[in-house]
Amino acid sequence: MNPLKVIDDTIVQEVSIKAPANRIFGVLTDPAELMRWWASEGKFRTTHVELDLRPGGKWRMDVEGGCGPDRTSSRVYGEYREINPPHRLSFTWNRDGEDSPETLVCWELEEQGHATLVRVTHSGLSSDALLKRNSGWPLIQSLLLAYIEQPAG
């Protein structure tokens, strides 16, 4: 069984890209470019991107995929919080039709020689909103941990 990642409500992932930070920031904030790399592989495609790139401005992305009974479309949307080119971009993140809390996504770009370290942080995945500002999360974690650690069978 995998070790429990649920203990933390934040996902941090990094990748090094051989390009200047300016170029990467542009790709993250240009609707035409976003359409080409976000949901671009195989059976999925980005059908609509709308960005109002200023703090408090709204953004949304629509994606479509599948065929026949599996055909589906989804929307993610939110509001820009911080726009600091080419270092930092943060915005709220909501998934359409999902009865779960608003979360926060932050892109950070750090030039390192000929490459740029790109870090994405998605936080609030088990936020206060989820558990209605009660201190329920530690209990849920401990119940889950006890369940996962119990011997199989």
Partner: protein, 121 residues
């Protein structure tokens, strides 16, 4: 009726587990129900004994137990005239799954971004 089989985020389809997911999230969002889960950690209990821990009426506690039961978090068994409740933490995995889905999504999105930028120049 047409029913979407999942969500697409980035290049990933996330299977639709929304209904059970919502039931579990709703069940654990309430402090009384979390208190009941805490009591049941110690082992199985009768409804009467659970209700003794609260100021609210027994029917009110039964209602909370029904909600926990429908989310799959509490299992009820009859013993004589009493109902014995026990904890089933398995559905809580859905909470964990939700976070795991996003881990995969961001991992793939970063790879997709890297590929797009590096192959284009």
């Amino acid at each position: 009726m047409w029913k979407p089989s999942g969500y697409i985020i980035g290049n990933r389809m996330v299977t639709n587990k929304t209904r059970q997911h919502d039931a579990v999230f709703r069940a654990i969002a309430d402090p009384t129900r979390r208190e009941i889960l805490t009591i049941l950690r110690g082992g199985q209990e009768t409804v009467g004994h659970i209700a003794e821990n609260f100021r609210m009426s027994r029917p009110a506690i039964s209602k909370h137990l029904r909600l926990l039961h429908s989310a799959g978090l509490v299992v009820t068994r009859k013993r004589g005239t009493a109902s014995l409740c026990s904890l089933n933490a398995k559905p809580l995995r859905l909470v964990d799954d939700w976070i795991r889905d996003y881990e995969t999504i961001w991992n793939e999105s970063l790879q997709s971004l890297k590929k797009y930028i590096e192959e284009k120049q």
